[in-house]
Symmetry: C2
Subunit: 268 residues, 2 copies
């Protein structure tokens, strides 16, 4: 058994108001977070909010990973509570923006993933991800990141699983009612990994976000599901050895049984 | 709109007793089937039953596709009711057995699929499938076939969808409680296809089959789900144009949005 404590913070980042978002998070960390927790996932675009009225608002609410009040704040919390944090991040790089997820730990910023599959009007603001599907070692676990609409592409989950992740962290700003949340346990099951889908709540203009942040386990079990509308910190203890063993019967292994001779290997 | 009527027959094939199985089917066809139906799916290993006590029993209950009382019977029904039928089939070929699915229509036997991913003790009786993932034109629709445990490999569903199927026919003898049945709507959703999972009921020695045969649609909706234990014929009218349109928003197409530059194309 390799047990670690994983979870999410379901809340509403404030559109183009990082100071307000950090104030909200500060209260949540004080109230709910302690050093027994190992990994926390926050929603998509945590530093900026989601529903930009214009490219200008998307731009002014973006940050670079090397100069970011939001990352500095998260690193401070990661250090204080000795944990790792994944959060969605409106990332500026040169004159481009990416809908990214960042990973920070007690010693600072570690790495990022840039959303591969952009949803609807995101295409007006962001470049498609260009860093592939990286995985990261956080000491106790190997993790990967996906962002929101990536959920509908089974290839993305599979590639991360085949690369050896124990946990897929999935910052989201889901607006379709429960579709992703009902599918996440299937992704966890078919890849025998843990999944943390951290969705947001609240409304930005015409978009209402659907909460129901979900932690699912390798046998397809829903380990925790938040409400649709409340601020909520969801935490569960998980045994990583369950994600590392891909045997699902005495004679079936989810990965060894794959027919790569028929459909290729996905990971090159 | 291209509306067709699709469904399944959930019943219990009789182990190594084809005459009894055909008698059961004969009554079900008389009671429930009529010429308004276009496509029916029967469970896995419909001609033989599932839980063979020995390789000998698997062998004696097998048939070749060219000389099969079971296929002859199904072709007769397909002709009588002017429909297509997919059924699981214990297929003998030379000195080998395959856990196959066969497709028949009003004019006779059309084709087969051989199960790619064998479950548990099936490995004692059957060879792994060696015909890839073929698709078939039944006039109104393009269909593909998967068999039971194939469900846990998202690659198989994706390849069939990318090849252009409207409907995936999925004869099954599921024993795990509801896992597949809860995942089928996700496969339908992520590939925007219809899925007919025709499971069996009943018990063979230590195995109890879990029914809950399911028809799911392109938006992840469960269109019909049978009971866990009853003989049942499930029928729904479906609009094939829904499966042919892979757009899920005005700016998102499930196939065009795939990042084949990152994870390859699956279909070579």
């Amino acid at each position: 058994m390799t047990t670690i404590s994983i979870g999410f913070i379901q809340f509403a980042p404030k559109l183009n108001n990082l100071a307000s978002t950090i104030q909200t998070l500060e209260q949540l960390f004080q109230d709910y977070v302690d050093p027994t927790i190992d990994l926390l996932v926050l929603p998509e675009l945590g530093n900026s909010g989601y529903n930009f009225p214009s490219p200008e608002v998307a731009w002014v609410s973006s940050e670079t990973v090397t100069k970011s009040l939001f990352i500095d704040y998260l690193v401070g919390q990661a250090e204080k509570y000795n944990l790792h944090i994944v959060s969605g991040f409106n990332e500026r790089s040169g004159d481009k923006l990416y809908n990214s997820a960042v990973l920070v730990g007690p010693t600072g910023y570690i790495g990022r993933y840039r959303k591969l599959h952009l949803f609807l009007n995101e295409k007006d603001f962001f470049e498609p991800g260009n860093l592939g599907l990286p995985i990261f070692d956080i000491g106790q676990a190997q993790i990967g990141m996906l962002v929101c609409f990536d959920w509908v592409f089974p290839e993305a989950w599979r590639v991360l699983a085949l690369k050896g992740v124990d946990i897929i962290c999935h910052p989201s700003n889901l607006v379709l009612p429960g579709l992703c949340q009902s599918t996440v346990p299937s992704h966890a099951l078919m890849n025998h990994v843990y999944v943390i889908t951290a969705n947001r709540i609240g409304t930005e203009e015409n978009l209402t976000f659907t909460g129901l942040s979900t932690i699912a386990g390798p046998t397809g079990q829903v380990l925790y599901q938040a409400t649709q509308t409340n601020v909520e910190v969801g935490l569960v203890d998980v045994d990583l050895s369950e994600a590392r063993d891909k045997a699902i019967t005495a004679r079936n292994d989810l990965f060894a049984d794959r027919r790569v001779d028929v459909y290729g290997d996905l990971v090159s």
